[in-house]
Symmetry: C2
Subunit: 345 residues, 2 copies
């Protein structure tokens, strides 16, 4: 009664069969108990984040393969850990699927998840599967951080430089290419691939953390008072660069000036509408870069070390608003607002 692998459905193998298939994506020592056990380092704080993704809201087979949906879900959670300054310890996955979901679809989803996790030396440590009329994934990621290195949104200070760790707008451009096929005519094949890759396989910026703390340590040692503590505020740009700056300013009760010409846009969009590219950078989201606020000197050192589009895009001010400004004077100053970001309801 065996069927070709690609047409085996969840109902053909049942819950236990599905769990057995999915256990191959977990370290073997972790499987088989009521919960997973994780060893943490002494003196570190636990950091926890969770995300739910629902078919047709967050992913659809039209724009996203199951493997890419998995990668993106894992990347979004690792990016939240990076935004807190934390190193990943593992993730759990709760999966709800209809009876007639191909097992193959689920395995590809898990392949995408584990490929992303492997790149950042972490694992699936547990999960749950259940029946649902709509494909749903809830991922919870755990990390650990030294308590003095927690990056919060609420600690930005007037005078801080605002660092964006890479280009913004590429993920949204990739989505546009997937949704509006006619847009593709404006781009070469290799450019299309790069933008679609940015959308489907975003890279959480965990690599920024050791560089950041190395630079912070250097600057702290250079100051006359070795006890001076350089605070870093920040978050990730999962909902766009504008949202990140606005959230940080709101939580820190400060304002900011962001300079239009300093926002790093993808090279691939240089010949595209600059107004559209800027919109995507500010409001597109899912670039999963970090937006960090720290004093100008270490900020400059960080940008130089990171390269590849990292830039100081503005500064924290004592205004009550976040202004998008134009040094050239061509465009009038604009007040940025959260209302233009993605709302789930």
């Amino acid at each position: 009664m065996s069927q070709p692998e690609s047409t085996t459905l969840v109902k053909d193998i049942g819950e236990k069969g599905l769990l057995e298939r999915l256990q191959q994506f977990c370290p073997p020592e972790i499987v088989g108990d009521d919960a997973a056990v994780v060893t943490t380092q002494p003196g570190k704080s636990l950091v926890v984040t969770t995300d739910m993704l629902v078919d047709e809201v967050h992913f659809g087979d039209r724009t996203t393969t199951p493997e890419a949906a998995g990668w993106r879900a894992a990347a979004a959670n690792l990016s939240d850990l990076a935004a807190m300054g934390a190193s990943p310890l593992g993730i759990t996955i709760a999966l709800g699927v209809p009876n007639d979901t191909p097992v193959n679809w689920i395995e590809q989803l898990y392949q995408g998840i584990t490929q992303c996790l492997q790149k950042f030396d972490t694992f699936v440590i547990g999960g749950d599967v259940c029946r649902s009329s709509v494909k749903t994934i809830a991922i919870t990621a755990f990390g650990e951080v030294h308590p003095e290195r927690i990056i919060r949104r609420s600690t930005a200070q007037v005078g801080d430089a605002i660092v964006a760790t890479g280009v913004h707008g590429a993920s949204r451009a990739g989505l546009e290419l997937l949704l509006q096929l006619e847009t593709r005519q404006s781009f070469s094949n290799s450019t299309q691939q790069k933008l679609i890759q940015a959308h489907q396989h975003p890279q959480p910026r965990l690599d920024v953390l050791p560089i950041l703390w190395e630079i912070i340590s250097q600057f702290q040692h250079q100051t006359e008072n070795a006890n001076t503590c350089i605070h870093v505020a920040g978050m990730d740009s999962s909902d766009g660069l504008a949202d990140a700056v606005l959230q940080i300013c709101q939580m820190s009760q400060v304002g900011a000036r962001v300079e239009r010409s300093l926002i790093p846009l993808p090279d691939e969009l240089k010949n595209w509408s600059s107004q559209q590219a800027l919109e995507w950078a500010l409001y597109g989201g899912e670039d999963f870069e970090l937006v960090l606020c720290l004093p100008p000197d270490p900020a400059q050192a960080l940008v130089q070390r990171l390269g590849k589009g990292a830039a100081i895009v503005g500064e924290i001010t004592n205004d009550s608003e976040v202004y998008l400004v134009d040094q050239t004077g061509k465009t009038p100053d604009e007040v940025l607002s959260l209302k233009r970001g993605f709302q789930h309801f």
Copy 2:
């Protein structure tokens, strides 16, 4: 434009409005960043478990108020922590709901969750909300445990006594009363309430852990070799008593004999069909008691300390099967099987 509170829908207040309402269920210091930070005790291991619950599969408004659905979801996760020997640190909640869900329904759900958590001194530490065509809750619970006190399924030893920490079958009986209204005629009002309460507000047995370790410590000190380590194997009975014994035996590569007459059934079912009550105890599930395997002397001491239906229900053997036996000889021995438990697909 204000509406009566009970008819306000999620789409009326939007994502940010909903998040603001839900933040009242979290400790204020935890809200506002990309992830939650939790302080752990040095030398303890982190324990993580996750569950997804879907409307109409796991709960329906016919048998479960939103408050009870919330309590049960929280209890199930805390029970998994108890089953590992862990004390809770907190939970995260990912919630997917349709646009037209009354906000009141969601608040009652969270009330149920937090009422259960408060009883066990723990909190909601983070979450996510998103749109979905079917109400879905994914809960992830974190706890901590001293590495030497982790309770695993795989460490049961031949000769261990099998302890059930309380009565089994009450939750399934309560469900029956909710589903089959005509069944209610067989029970007094107060009996009905007790059984329905067992189904809607199960109590995770975190209270067993300090008692267990106190007894284990006493017995270890009494042995001539103070280094003798008494292992405790176990899990919770979320899928029924039979499932728990079978899973422990399978993971420990041992067999067991469970004595029919020793299985503690609810007093409320004493005048009910004893065969039906036994079926519910073995296969009904959701009693969320602990099933623990440990040497007979400390097992006896534990049962005496716990009272209220706790009992030694059998012993671990070197058989390859789990037998349900009858000391009186009235019923022939029966081999228990996992196949009769609940399968999600």
